[in-house]
């Protein structure tokens, strides 16, 4: 079967010099002819190959567990112009799954190492890395891509890119609608979804599906610890700031973890609580989610498949703990979604509620997930968390009744550092 490779420049509609005869033998089988369920708008043959291999430009956000898989998949599938953004550097605990990195790469930027690796392994592919935050880039940057695939583990970053892509949509310009493929994994479980901004449900629409992170009441941590986790929280939430003042806790610093571990262990001994370990300490303070290569591979591959076979409509879940169980369903758009719904969020509260009480209620709301919100109306500043002067100026309002400041049926604009958009809330009193 050994045939001498012949380098071709224009075979099969591929103008790239790096493509060799039969390079895409496998992929071409499905690109050359439609299947019985292929969308009629799919035009098999050279045109689709040329689009994929020359003009299509894809952005991969995140070069971690999912990102590595996505990049390798895209490169082998024939995409030639790939961009990748990641702000992290490589840690030793990444090496059990992030297969583009080696021991020698520990400490280097993920985006740069991943891009180099792909370009070395898959000839003819250009991967352009950006080592930094997604928030550094503007609308023009995001406009250049045909598709954006996310391999992020941060809720905040996902909310930002989701809101940015929804805002990018200009009804006059079909090119401004950028499909976003998102998903994540946890142990043997994972999910993937397709978001067509303004058309399908968006990330914000489904925020209430997220598991709320376990938060232990301060009172338990301070007075009645029972679990090793309570001792660890005591060390990180109460003892660290008490002892170290303004020094920031760096959960990636083994010395910091070591200190927390020692303190937590001492507290556990005092209360005769068992089970404080280094590994648990790290798990609790970093909110570590177990991760393996295989689940990432499944979810990443699924994401690519949704862009080449048929668009997933629109949510896929996989549970691999007990056999293999998967489930596909259409997640519905929320009319009152603060990002894509175009309507204000309706809330009704008592006439007696203070501003402070309203803020507490907003923070607890699972479907909007905000910390430290600032509130204003079109004409008034109600309460601002920052800057300090403004905070001081508006602080007396916390004790005032909302109904004294806002008319029934009027809108409040809610902003927060963690919120990549302004949330409009319409207040009615009961």
């Amino acid at each position: 079967m050994a045939t001498a490779p012949t380098s071709t420049t224009t075979a099969n509609g591929n103008p790239s010099a790096a493509d060799w005869q039969d390079r895409y033998h496998h992929v071409d089988q499905v690109l050359d002819r439609p299947g019985p369920r292929t969308d009629p708008s799919f035009l098999a043959g050279d045109e689709v190959k040329a689009f994929l291999r020359t003009s299509c430009k894809i952005l991969v956000i995140g070069a971690g567990g999912l990102g590595c898989e996505i990049l390798a998949n895209l490169a082998l599938s024939g995409f030639k112009d790939i961009h990748v953004i990641d702000m992290d550097t490589i840690d030793i605990s990444n090496l059990n799954r992030q297969f583009l990195f080696r021991q020698k790469d520990v400490g280097k930027p993920k985006a740069i190492v991943a891009a180099e690796f792909i370009m070395n392994r898959v000839p003819g592919v250009t991967v352009t890395p950006y080592y930094g935050k997604i928030q550094d880039k503007d609308d023009d940057y995001y406009m250049q891509f045909n598709l954006i695939i996310c391999g992020l583990d941060s809720v905040e970053a996902r909310r930002w890119i989701n809101a940015t892509l929804v805002n990018l949509v200009d009804p006059e310009n079909p090119e401004s609608l950028k499909p976003l493929i998102d998903g994540g994994t946890e142990g043997f479980k994972g999910q993937a979804r397709v978001i067509l901004p303004t058309v399908t449900s968006c990330y914000e629409c489904s925020l209430d599906m997220l598991n709320k992170p376990t938060a232990f009441p301060i009172c338990t941590i301070a007075n009645t610890p029972r679990l090793p986790e309570h001792c660890i929280e005591w060390a990180s939430v109460l003892e660290w700031p008490r002892v170290h003042g303004d020094k920031r806790l760096d959960t990636d610093d083994p010395e910091h973890i070591g200190w927390l571990y020692k303190i937590a262990l001492a507290r556990a001994k005092e209360f005769k609580i068992e089970g404080v370990t280094w590994s648990l300490t790290q798990g609790v303070v970093k909110n570590i989610i177990p991760a393996i290569a295989s689940t990432n591979a499944i979810i990443a591959a699924f994401k690519i498949a949704t862009s080449s076979a048929a668009y997933l409509n629109n949510y896929f879940m996989l549970i691999g703990t007990d056999g293999v169980y998967s489930y596909t369903f259409e997640h519905e758009k929320r009319d009152d979604c603060p990002v894509c719904g175009g309507q204000a969020l309706d809330i009704s509260i008592s006439k007696e509620w203070t501003v402070d009480r309203l803020i507490e209620m907003l923070v607890e709301k699972q479907d909007i997930q905000i910390k430290k919100p600032s509130l204003s109306t079109a004409t008034k500043q109600i309460y601002f968390q920052a800057p300090p002067q403004l905070e001081e100026l508006t602080r007396p309002n916390l004790e005032r009744k909302v109904s004294d400041l806002v008319e029934n049926g009027d809108h409040i604009t809610v902003t927060a550092a963690s919120l990549p958009f302004n949330l409009m809330v319409r207040v009615t009193y009961v």
């Binding site: 050994a2 390079r23 299947g35 599938s77 989610i289 393996i292 290569a293 591959a301």
Partner: protein
């Protein structure tokens, strides 16, 4: 990095100071399968037949978490097409060279502690000699991707013929469709991690220390803080004890009883905001919904160990010998049955020392935890004694960990019995029924399309004879000529005829993930592997299990 060079994982995580580099490297997976699972992985030897894109994708996901050894057995020479779809080949540089060697080199770069070997031979040649067959049988798991039908039939029979042979994972894929099947005799899972109902807290069968605490507690003498911190377990044991005294010893059973019981719990509170009493009411189901032995576990007591392929054995339990497949697990299972029936026992499964968090103060919680731990220790000692009496030959072969794990998870243990590869396909009636069974139509159609494809490729490996019609002709031979083929068959065969030999990179990656997950489950004996055929359709985004 060998195990000897690195610290024991448990030790590393409990000692003062940062864990060693091996523990750090594997941190995210140790949280899933712990040191015992990692140890099992590191002792495994995996044979993979083929170095296709799918085969290397499977291996990538096994080398990364750190299996002990893998061998790729493949006589193929790398083609330009291989170099284009396989991430573990060096592009054109690999073309013309043995594919297995090229792939092994790049796979080994993923993890220095894994040993990889390329054997450039044809599996069909190996199966011809006794030596070759013994070699294949010496692995802990065999994975075959798109192996020629006649070779696969011989291999699967060989591995099925002896209970001590390794499991075989058969993978078939074409274009956007795929399926896999695990041929195994028996999988005994002591740690299924399936998040099912928590183990019993023994509220209905309180052990002496628990009952004494609940009975002797004078609720009226407690100060308000203490009253608001009585653990819900104690509240329920007390409430049930009082109930029984006024109901001739019977627990609440009718729906009216249950409401009355909950009302009685509410009555016990002193202030409306005592959260421990809210918790007691919310957990009252434990009083009437906890069977002495979960039904699925009780069913396992009747299971005889395997003695010959595919046959439920007739060996009585006393004949369990160290040579019996999964002897240790069966001995533990028998002992569990004996424990539950023992006059000296609680009449149910042994107590688990794991206590959920609850609204209470530190002192009460630690006291309760200690009581549970002590009693669990007493019952475990009793269990161990029974094990030693009943199975004097097997008991000494067991580690303390093995016993602990079994007793701790006794509420969830699972035993799976597998079938021979291809056995399901011999029953035309079964296949035809499955083809028209609600929610199985498409998966069965896809499975049949793969059977048909294997037959056609056996004669023409290049796929030149694969058409919609030739596939349907083969399917009719399997289900019977008179069976009307549903539309799902057209959807499946059309997709296969479109790309009969395509090993698509992202389908390969998807399968690589799924199959590695299953391999890890089989090797570690943790989590529950698939029984039957797992069918994958990436056109319509589904997976489905048939032929269980």
């Amino acid at each position: 990095m060998s195990t000897a060079e690195s610290q024991d994982i448990e030790q590393a995580t409990s000692a003062i100071g940062a864990p060693d580099s091996k523990t750090r490297r594997y941190d995210r997976q140790l949280r899933l399968w712990a040191a015992s699972g990692q140890h099992a992985l590191e002792n495994s030897r995996i044979l993979v037949l083929s170095s296709s894109a799918t085969a290397t994708a499977v291996l990538k996901n096994l080398v990364l978490p750190g299996i002990g050894h893998f061998t790729i057995l493949d006589s193929a020479i790398t083609t330009p097409a291989d170099a284009g779809n396989n991430f573990f080949l060096s592009g054109l540089e690999s073309v013309g060279k043995p594919r297995a060697q090229e792939a092994v080199q790049l796979l080994c770069e993923l993890n220095e502690s894994v040993e990889g070997e390329a054997v450039v031979k044809d599996i069909s040649d190996l199966l011809q000699t006794e030596q070759g067959r013994a070699y294949v049988r010496s692995f802990s798991l065999v994975v075959a991707h798109n192996l020629r039908k006649d070779v696969l039939d011989g291999l699967s029979l060989l591995l099925w013929n002896d209970l001590s042979n390794p499991p075989l994972i058969v993978v078939r894929s074409a274009g956007f469709l795929a399926e896999f099947f695990i041929q195994f005799h028996e999988q005994c899972v002591a740690q299924p991690h399936t998040d099912e109902t928590p183990p019993s807290l023994r509220i209905t069968r309180p052990f002496p220390a628990l009952l004494q605490w609940a009975r002797e507690l004078d609720f009226d003498k407690l100060d308000p803080t203490e009253h608001g911190h009585v653990p819900f377990v104690i509240i329920l044991v007390r409430a049930l004890d009082d109930w029984r005294k006024s109901h001739n010893g019977a627990p609440p059973s009718t729906s009216a009883d249950k409401q009355a019981f909950k009302a009685a719990v509410r009555e016990m509170r002193r202030k409306p905001d005592e959260e421990n009493f809210d918790e007691a009411e919310a957990q009252a189901w434990r009083v009437w919904q906890e069977p002495a032995i979960p039904r699925d576990v009780e069913a396992l007591f009747a299971l005889s160990p395997l003695s010959s392929p595919g046959l439920a054995a007739t060996l009585p339990s006393s004949k369990l010998t160290p040579e019996t497949p999964n002897a240790a697990f069966h001995a533990l299972l028998r002992t569990l049955d004996a424990f539950a029936r023992s006059d000296r026992g609680p009449g149910c499964l042994p107590l688990s020392a794991a206590l959920p968090d609850m609204r209470t103060d530190t002192e009460s919680y630690v006291k309760l935890q200690t009581a549970y731990k002590e009693w669990a220790g007493i019952e475990k000692a009793h269990f161990k004694e029974l094990l030693g009496e009943k199975f004097p030959d097997i008991a000494p072969l067991m580690t303390a960990d093995q016993l602990d794990t079994f007793v701790k998870n006794a509420h969830h243990i699972r035993v799976l019995r597998g079938t021979r590869w291809g056995e399901w396909d011999t029953g035309a009636g079964t296949l035809a029924t499955s083809l028209t069974t609600y929610a199985c139509e498409a998966a069965t159609a896809t499975h049949l399309a793969f059977c048909a494809l294997s037959t056609l490729l056996n004669d023409n490996p290049d796929g030149s004879n694969v058409t919609v019609e030739s596939l349907k002709t083969e399917i009719r031979k399997l289900v019977g000529e008179n069976v009307e083929l549903p539309d799902e068959v057209d959807a499946a065969v059309g997709e296969i005829a479109r790309a009969p030999t395509a090993d698509m990179p992202n389908v390969a990656a998807f399968l690589g993930g799924l199959i590695a997950q299953e391999a890890i489950k089989v090797i570690t004996n943790q989590y529950v592997p698939v029984k039957g055929y797992c069918v994958v359709d990436l056109v319509d985004s589904w997976t489905s299990i048939i032929g269980q």
